[in-house]
Structures are given as structure tokens and as C-alpha cells.
Symmetry: C2
Subunit: 200 residues, 2 copies
């Protein structure tokens, strides 16, 4: 198809399209909006993109993104350092924090073991996790990876390394999503919910 957009516009559309979940149509709409912005706002947008790379790095303890020396969770005195919740990505930390229920620490893997995508255990922050477990502070490790094949594989892999250290390894509960109707639950979830039933 011939190009009807000017080259710089096409280039911006391509940049937006590279974000997953953004199609060509959405990217075009976004690029035209950037073009219609005040120049000041466009400069702010561009500098926000650059700053996120220059100012944010990984917390040396939990590997979550932070713009401080230590992330807010790792530097807090009020968190329970005997529990570590292991998650795939920094976004998962934000999701857990929103529940306001969890008071322990985190460890961000930055991925899941996935041989099909060429991601092996060495590319995750598993070595850094094992380093954190050396000093006997941690009594429990909660595997909070997604209930997918990759998530389960990674959870199994890590639990095999952690259990021999005498640390309790737990997994998030499977079950029905709160608020969802039973009729939309798939059989596996339903079976897991039945298996994990609790007394009321």
C-alpha cells in the first residue's frame, strides 16, 4: 500500500505500533494526536521517554524498577523481611501493592523460563534471589508467577532450588475469580477451586 503520510509521521506511527497491544490504527490516531499537541507538550512527552531510561534502574535487592538507591519496599522498615513474593515483572509488584494486604518483600524475575522464546533460567534474576536467601532472614518464598505453562515451570524450577535451603515455598491459590459467574469458569479452574475448597 502506498504511503499517504509524511515520512516523520510514518516513523512516529511505527514507533507507537511497536508497543504491544497497539495496532496500526491506534498508532496512527496517537501519532496524529502528538502532531496536534502544543510543541511544549510534545517535548515533555519525548523527554519523559528519555528520562524513564536514564533515571530508572533496578533496585539492587529486589530488582524492581526504582529511581532511588533502594526501592520504597526494600528501604521500608515496616515490611516483613522474612517473606519474599516472587513475581514475573515490576507491574506485578504494583498490582500486589494495590491490594494493600501484602506486607512482605518482593523479588522481580524480569521474565519467565520459556524455552520456546529462548528464555532460560540464567536470563532471569534467580541467582540474585538465591544470594538473598543466604543469611537465614527469609522463612517463606511465595511463588506468584502466572498460572500459565511458563509461570508453572518457573515456579517449579525455583522451588527445587529453594526448598533444599530449608525455606518454605508456597504458591498462590487457584480458584474462581471473585465476582465471576460459575458458568464462565473453565473446567480446570473449577477443579482447582474444588480441590482447594476451604471450610466456612
Amino acid at each position: 500500500m502506498p504511503q499517504y503520510n509524511a515520512e516523520p509521521l510514518e516513523r512516529l506511527i511505527n514507533n507507537f505500533s511497536r508497543l504491544s497491544g497497539v495496532g496500526r490504527k491506534g498508532a496512527t490516531r496517537m501519532a496524529y494526536q502528538v502532531l496536534a499537541m502544543d510543541e511544549k507538550d510534545a517535548q515533555e512527552f519525548a523527554s519523559a521517554i528519555l528520562d524513564v531510561h536514564t533515571k530508572i534502574k533496578r533496585c539492587p535487592v529486589c530488582r524492581n524498577y526504582t529511581d532511588k538507591d533502594l526501592c520504597p519496599v526494600c528501604s521500608s522498615a515496616r515490611r516483613d523481611s522474612s517473606v519474599i513474593c516472587i513475581v514475573e515483572s515490576p507491574r506485578d509488584v504494583a498490582t500486589f501493592e494495590k491490594t494493600r494486604e501484602y506486607k512482605g518483600m518482593y523479588h522481580v524475575l524480569h521474565g519467565l523460563i520459556s524455552p520456546l522464546d529462548g528464555i532460560s533460567a540464567e536470563q532471569l534474576t534467580i541467582k540474585e534471589l538465591l544470594d538473598r536467601l543466604k543469611d537465614d532472614t527469609v522463612k517463606e518464598v511465595i511463588m506468584a508467577t502466572s498460572p500459565t505453562i511458563e509461570g508453572e515451570t518457573t515456579a517449579m524450577y525455583i522451588s527445587r532450588l529453594v526448598k533444599p535451603l530449608g525455606i518454605k515455598v508456597t504458591r498462590l491459590a487457584y480458584g474462581l475469580p471473585v465476582g465471576a459467574s460459575l458458568e464462565y469458569a473453565d473446567e480446570v479452574t473449577l477443579y482447582r477451586a474444588l480441590e482447594g475448597r476451604t471450610e466456612i
Copy 2:
């Protein structure tokens, strides 16, 4: 709600959220993706945003966005300069060009008359349109604004200015969208489709 994201990340999320059609959740996903990009790719993204503003301006004839002195349509010798299609935005030009059927020229209004949004006729490129009609080249003006209140108002306003110049003013046909089932058509569209029926 407390902030769980580092400040530079929060700032980028806010920038993405300002794009219409992008919610807080989508903006968060996009910002995390930018963070996970190579630094080189983030620099390219930021520079694409800046370039779109520095390199693209309005074509002095049709007011469409272009990075050339004249846009490709206005500079083409193969276009019919006796017809001008009047559209709300540069995106509409791209949409028309994709049909590959229209061979005339365009005029981009950069908005529609909308008293509620404080947009008056003076803020659109109507004066520039009238300048283009002075030399008798143009024989027909096609009003291709959306079939909304603002689109209709703008089309009526412009047609009242153009008709006295002895130029034919036409409007896009109303009717059923191709491929859509009759049962989903609203009554107004159906009435318009009936009214505009053609012999087969």
C-alpha cells in the same frame, strides 16, 4: 491512591494517558514497555515525537500535514484541480486516499464548528479555502465532514459561502454501511438510505 511507580515512570504514564483512547491501564502497560526497550529504541521513539513537530507543517494550499513544500496531492500533476473535497482532519485525507477512487484535491479544515467546544468558523481554515476558490479553477466542492451535528453545521456554513461564487457544492451520500446488516441500522440512517435510493 498512593504511588507505587517511580516518579519518571509515573510521568511517562501520564503522558501516554493524555492521548485520547488510552486509559490509565493501557498507558501503564505502554510505559513499562518503553522502560523494557533498548535505550537506543527509546531514543528513536523520543526523537520521532520531536521530529514530527519540527519537520511537519501544513501544506500552504490544502493545509494537510506535509514534510515537503507542497503536499503530494497538491504537487501532483495527475490530480483534478477542479474538485476540492473538504475534510475535518488530515486523517480523513489518508482515509480517502486509501479508496484510490478520488482524484481531486483536498482542503483540511482542522476542526469543525462547535460552539459547545468554543470552536468558531474563524479557527478553521475556511478563509484559506475561499482564497483557493477565487481563480475559477474549482467547479465543485464536496463537503465530506462527518454526519454529526458539528459536521452538518460546518457543511451548511461553508456551502452558504461557496454557493454564491457559482461553484457546485455536494455532500457525501448517506446510507447503509457496506456489509452491515439491515437490522443494526438506526432509523435515521435507514430513512436517509431510502431517500437516496438509486435505480439498479
